[in-house]
Symmetry: C2
Subunit: 438 residues, 2 copies
């Protein structure tokens, strides 16, 4: 048996995986056939057993083979279920060729190998993994975060003021009961669904851009989906207003790391000297969307209230991922990851801007802010937003809808998960769809 190697620089186990996957999908290895044992396969291919095992585990994870206890791996009937000509399926539900609405991230944005090393290191800490995590979050991670946000965002706090959780929503579930003396909360607009949902569930009245609300939720580096940021003058004004009227500010520092066009503006928390502001941060966008790790920094009064009830809530974030992230930050990888992301996305956003301009010319109004990963595109169009979006989908294009007015649609295009080489053909395809509606 000879292992045909392809030219890509895949790891060896990926080549073994691909080799068997092809044999299985092409029907050369039939359903029910037993796979060679790890040892035999390793001998035949003259590679290590570990490599074979990695490939087998991945084949099993993807459903090509299945393990039977005390017997070995067997080929599943996946080939029968997978259409031989994938195009046959496309006719019913067209595949998305150009995705400008994905919340995924760029393949190139993350050094998986580095992260894997840290997860593996965390996995070796048997003793720590045998016990429940601290309800507030691992103390080491809170220490590291405290220094990190002090250095980068001037946030003033002690590790005791930091609460870690699996996403912003998990933290808001802890925060809301601490704010039961307040009843109204203002959001910048209805697109902040994740935050709005939790406040609604806890019985708060939701308002929009309302300075009189008792709680003011803002995202200063992400005022709009196309990356407007809040100017410093407006920040100072907001803080003065909140202090005078005893409003509480929730500062969601979402995408502050993606402010390219100017120096990052100071955090509200630092401008307010740590008083009257809850600071919220998250790592899903900086590392991997699949990593559910967020944190909040409580001001002194709320921090005290939290300590009294902290025993009521279990920690939601994975302890293993907390341990890994702690060391990842300590070793400087988060800082270099952010530098890489900023370079990557500012470059891509510029390319996307040029592609839209080149495809639409004077037919579109484009808006780009000083931050973020998206631009907005306003088109005259007699179709409704949802009708236009489904027409796009039929032509293999996915975009987001920001708002619609009479005969005008404002679309939102993200540069994050598409490759740059798709920008121009994608925008040209979008232009043709639009032209067909005129």
């Amino acid at each position: 048996m000879a292992l045909e190697l392809d030219n890509t620089n895949h790891h060896l186990y990926m080549r073994v995986y691909q080799y068997y996957k092809n044999l299985i999908l092409s029907g050369k290895l039939r359903a029910g056939t037993k796979m060679p044992s790890l040892r035999r396969c390793a001998q035949q291919l003259q590679i290590s057993r570990t490599t074979v095992e990695a490939a087998y585990l991945l084949l099993a994870a993807d459903g090509y083979i299945i393990s039977r206890a005390q017997s070995g791996y067997y080929i599943t009937d996946i080939a029968a279920k997978t259409p031989v000509h994938p195009s046959a399926k496309k006719e019913t539900a067209p595949a998305i060729r150009y995705d400008f609405a994905s919340s995924g991230v760029d393949r190139e944005s993350f050094h998986f190998d580095v992260w894997r090393r840290y997860i593996k290191s965390a996995l070796r800490q048997d003793e720590r993994l045998l016990s429940y995590g601290s309800p507030q979050g691992e103390p080491e991670l809170r220490d590291v975060l405290c220094s990190y946000i002090h250095e980068r965002r001037n946030v003033i706090c002690s590790p005791d003021d930091i609460v870690i959780g699996a996403g912003i929503q998990s933290l808001l579930h802890i925060l809301c009961p601490l704010l039961s003396n307040r009843q109204t909360v203002s959001f910048p607009n209805p697109s902040f669904l994740q935050g709005i949902s939790i406040f609604e569930d806890h019985g708060f009245q939701i308002r929009y851009r309302d300075k009189d609300s008792e709680i003011i939720y803002v995202s200063p580096a992400h005022m709009t989906k196309w990356g407007e940021i809040m100017p410093v003058s407006r920040r100072l004004e907001l803080i003065r207003h909140a202090a005078q009227r005893q409003r509480l500010i929730l500062e969601d520092d979402y995408e502050n790391e993606f402010v390219y066009m100017q120096r990052p503006t100071p955090s509200l928390q630092s401008l307010a000297a740590g008083q009257g502001v809850v600071y919220l941060g998250s790592f899903s966008r900086l590392l991997l969307p699949s990593i559910r790790l967020s944190f909040m920094v409580l001001p002194p009064d709320l921090s005290k209230s939290y300590q009294r009830i902290s025993g009521r809530y279990n920690q939601t974030a994975s302890k293993m991922e907390q341990i890994a992230l702690c060391q990842f930050i300590r070793d400087g990888h988060l800082a270099s990851q952010i530098r890489r992301l900023r370079r990557l996305y500012s470059g891509k956003l510029k390319e996307l801007y040029q592609a839209v301009q080149s495809a639409f010319g004077a037919n579109a109004r484009i808006r780009v802010g000083s931050a973020g990963i998206s631009l907005s595109l306003t088109l005259t169009c007699s179709l409704s937003g949802s009708a236009f979006l489904s027409l796009c989908a039929q032509n293999g294009i996915r975009v987001g809808l920001l708002q619609e007015q009479e005969k005008e649609l404002e679309l939102i295009l993200s540069c994050s998960s598409s490759p740059v080489s798709d920008f121009l053909p994608g925008c040209q395809a979008l232009f043709q769809v639009w032209q067909s509606t005129q």
Copy 2:
């Protein structure tokens, strides 16, 4: 340089770790000294670079060394901060020698190597990790869970009825808003703090053992901390009552896997044919407490309501751990893990029972149920519960307090994290503390 090997069967990297740790703590390697490069260390010790790297990462994780970008690893000043004679510290806060109140698990209970393999396999699925997880939980894991609970607990559902989350509390946060037409919830007793907290936060009225409540929260395999289980006759009665009066049952199947003394009793969900029961399950106790993975099975009406609002909530559980668990269950490891745990804990609980009997003789009343990992111990005592517990702590013993009445304390002792060899000396020490109060 020679690597002194100790006798334990630690992995090689653990020996390298221990070797350097000793050199650093003893001051033989001073703060600020550069560690040898990976390559040089590997040559000197004649081991692989990977092994050296594993050891270095662990040393860094524990704060002994720190990495400086483009330079290498340096020794920290941890030795200066660590007391040379740890006993000096012990005088102020006595160390716990016998811990019968830990929520941790037995070191032997979990095959770390197997779990590590599955996490590593999950880490290789780059594409899946680059996107956000499904709000409801990974579809593959829901498929596997559906078959698993059908097989083991006769739970009747489809994968669409299953919602995954980071712990029971995360799931209750999603469930509570779906139950807003109800106002009262009954718990077996106030020790169900995690559940009670969330219902309180959502404005429900909490009651105890109240059949008239609109929601009835029960844990049939864990009625008391000392492992009483709900008999089948009582289960049927509860279901009839709930169906007649349109009560909703929340069945927390906590520790049903640890029912040793008899065959596991059927789940309420199966007895009720899937109607009017929300089934809650969790993996923290079965795998590792640090793994935050739970699920709920919604009955048809709530499942429909959930589908309408599922977009409001992000997934809280780690996607990596979901992918790993899915394959872990598929390959039969969960089933064998449960067999191992049941054997381990039923044996340990018996040993603990004998140790208590041998130490206390006729002086104590012991209660052990048909399940669980704990027994209860009632003692006459003129001290208050908290005074007795702190006297125990001063003598290096940690136990839990179940209830106190005049001149009587009911303690709860868990067999889970202490080694069996500590049971008899631990119980004898506890006996001496108790005797000193008589």
